[in-house]
């Protein structure tokens, strides 16, 4: 396979990483029965905070690059986690609607990011450097695509497997799924529903914060207004649904979106040639593709249409396709649980 193509695949994996991390974070939050709708604003505020923290550390000149990055990432994760805590606190302690609070927070965080980021607009700052994994990077094909990335990307691979293992192969994961499906039953069996919801929302929010830092310290370095990742939070939320709350499918969804974006970006700069013929049409319209894909994927997994289409297929295929496309939300998603 030609090298340019492999490099492109590698860059898709790289640019998809913030989406992967954010979607995985939201996956564990929603598995616990909590919806954190603040993603779009959280990403922006975490991104600008992370960048500002890393930049300040750089200007102070006390730390070396890895430490500057660590400071930035830490600050971003804290921001994401605090916003998530606000969502879960207001739900559990104050009996507020998770969707309403999350929505207000997404707007508020986005404006806060713009306000606080005004002084950090378009200035260069520290960036996460590439780190090829020895030995693995020399594997043909896969080496270039997967293992000549930075540490955050490797972390995202690991995260996917850890979450999968935790969800489906561990005792703790059983409790996690239980509090998202049937909190009453989980409570009756002794699971501390509220405490677990706090923890998983906190953890999910911290990952969203990390994703924000992945933008401002790597994928879209620095800060600008409007922010480069605007809209990605909503896409991440849709990917969780598309992924059926399963870590592998969620990651697949994130890569699919990133690939589509890469293709449309490539066509917009280089034009489109089919059999040597240049095809011309308003390429701006290609920017609709991610959103059309969002609608289409939700259409596919959200019942209605798929069910009707499946009727026309042979029985054997029907069952398998249905199982593959299944996307049932955790039954207690976005609801409150009150212990007696």
């Amino acid at each position: 396979m030609n090298e340019e193509f492999l490099n492109t695949l590698g860059s898709i994996i790289g640019t998809a990483t913030p989406l992967v991390i954010a979607s995985l974070g939201e996956t564990i939050t929603e598995r616990a029965g909590v919806v954190n709708l603040s993603l779009d604003g959280s990403l922006a505020l975490a991104a600008v905070t992370g960048f500002a923290a890393a930049w300040t550390a750089q200007e102070a000149g006390l730390l070396d690059l890895p430490a500057q990055i660590a400071v930035g990432i830490g600050a971003a994760m804290l921001v994401g986690a605090l916003i998530a805590l606000l969502v879960i606190f207001s739900s559990i302690k104050l009996r507020r609607d998770q969707v309403a609070v999350g929505f207000v927070l997404t707007l508020l965080a986005a404006d806060l990011a713009r306000f606080l980021g005004a002084d950090y607009t378009r200035i260069p700052g520290p960036q996460i450097t590439r780190f090829a994994i020895p030995v693995l990077e020399d594997i043909p094909v896969l080496g270039i695509v997967l293992f000549q990335q930075n540490l955050l990307v490797y972390f995202s691979y690991l995260l996917m497997f850890v979450i999968w293992f935790w969800l489906f192969r561990s005792k703790g994961g059983l409790a996690l799924r239980a509090i998202g499906e049937r909190p009453e039953a989980a409570y009756a069996r002794g699971a501390p529903v509220q405490r677990l919801r706090y923890w998983y929302t906190f953890l999910g929010g911290a990952l969203v914060g990390l994703a924000g830092a992945a933008y401002s310290l790597n994928v879209k370095p620095g800060w600008s207004s409007p922010p480069a990742m605007q809209g990605d939070g909503w896409i991440a939320l849709a990917i969780v649904i598309f992924g059926g709350w399963h870590p592998f499918r969620v990651v697949l969804g994130a890569y699919l979106f990133a690939a589509l974006r890469a293709i449309s970006g490539y066509i917009q700069t280089n034009g489109l040639f089919i059999f040597g013929q240049e095809i011309s049409f308003p390429f701006v319209l290609l920017n609709t593709l991610p959103w059309l894909l969002m609608i289409v994927t939700l259409l596919i997994v959200s019942g209605g249409l798929t069910e009707r289409l499946l009727q026309y297929m042979p029985r054997a295929v029907q069952r398998r396709l249905r199982a593959f496309l299944r996307s049932d939300p955790p039954r207690a998603l976005a609801t409150r649980f009150e212990a007696e």
Binding site: V104, L116, D119, G231, V284
Partner: protein, 358 residues
């Protein structure tokens, strides 16, 4: 119920969230090294210095109140119409099409205005219909359908502005050419640049929707659907039709709001012409826990903050980003919601009767 203690607590919980959000905003301003009092001064002057500025406040108030009224309707039916921003934009697109291609002499300008507003209403309704169809028939959650449709209409508008509708000279992505004068909504006077017909339309919409929500079977059905979809269905309410009608009413009002932006505020079509007013409408309605009565007043306060904030950037001693307006508004709504929770949990019995929804 109306003991002095309950009254005192209610008053406290009215003032507390406002005081806290102002305090946090002030702290933020201090954190970036500016004087909060100067900010207040700039905001006030930016909004109320003279009748021209006041006109500017009304220019935000008109579209904001229209979408807020529409959103009360969708919230009543239990629907999160985040797509309202895109519905505004689609209204703006439809009005812009008419403004460029329906050429009528200046003498027929009022007629043309009405036609363009009607077109915009149709545009908003169309985009709301798509959200409704996705939600009701195809099971796509209205929040995600709305977000996607918002993005779609923005891409379409950028395509139109940089493509078919670009100015003959110096085409760019900045905006179309100014529309012909007969298409534009006239201002009352240069000293008070507001369109009175639109103000009348807002008042009419407010009265009609208030009556429809509270005194018709339709309003009752919406409430039943919003409270509990399943039992409403069992009671024989046509839930799908009720939900769809809520979307359509909101889309219509949002479309009209969009037409005001392009036919009055800007005089042409620009990218993101809806300017976040749809989202702000959601905040207004959340602040009021979905009650309609106070919507025009809260919308006025928000419009004043928005108008005043344009001065934050210009004032030489401030040079602050105008997003401070959004921060202040967002914080206000957040703290009102949170403190409503505190009151409900720790001081039950001091709340207004929940059924008393108007």
């Amino acid at each position: 119920m109306k003991s002095p203690r309950a009254l005192a607590i209610r008053l406290t919980f009215l003032i507390l969230p406002i005081a806290i959000s102002l305090a946090v905003a002030a702290a933020l301003v201090i954190a970036v090294g500016r004087d909060p009092l100067e900010v207040v001064d700039a905001l006030w002057k930016g909004a109320f210095k003279d009748t021209r500025k006041l006109g500017g406040v009304f220019n935000f108030w008109i579209p904001l109140t229209l979408v807020s009224i529409g959103l009360v309707v969708t919230f009543r039916a239990g629907l999160w119409n985040i797509g309202v921003e895109g519905q505004m934009m689609m209204g703006a697109l439809f009005a812009s099409w008419g403004a460029q291609y329906l050429l009528l002499p200046a003498s027929l300008s009022p007629l043309l205005n009405v036609i363009l507003i009607a077109l915009a209403a149709l545009g908003g309704m169309f985009w709301a219909f798509v959200v409704g169809l996705l939600k009701i028939r195809l099971g796509v959650n209205e929040i995600f359908g709305g977000v996607a449709l918002n993005a779609l209409v923005n891409v379409i508008s950028i395509y139109l502005i940089s493509g078919p509708w670009q100015p003959r000279i110096g085409g760019s992505a900045q905006g179309t050419e100014p529309f012909p004068t007969p298409a534009l909504l006239p201002e009352y006077s240069p000293a008070f640049p507001v369109n009175l017909f639109m103000i009348a339309l807002v008042i009419a919409a407010f009265v009609i929707v208030t009556i429809m929500l509270n005194a018709t079977r339709w309003g009752l059905n919406l409430k039943a659907v919003g409270a509990n979809m399943r039992s409403a269905l069992l009671l024989g309410v046509a839930t799908e039709r009720a939900s769809m009608s809520a979307f359509l009413v909101c889309g219509t009002l949002a479309g009209i709001a969009g037409s005001y932006r392009v036919l009055f505020t800007f005089d042409n079509l620009r990218p993101l012409a809806s300017g976040g007013i749809g989202f702000l409408g959601l905040l207004v309605v959340l602040l009021l826990s979905m009650r309609l009565l106070w919507a025009p007043l809260i919308a006025f306060a928000f419009a004043a903050i928005l108008t005043g904030s344009t001065r934050l950037q210009i004032a030489p001693s401030l040079k602050l980003d105008s997003s401070l307006a959004g921060v202040l508004q967002g914080m206000l709504v957040l703290f009102v919601i949170l403190f409503h929770g505190v009151q409900e949990v720790f001081f039950p019995g001091t709340l207004e009767d929940e059924d008393d929804e108007q």
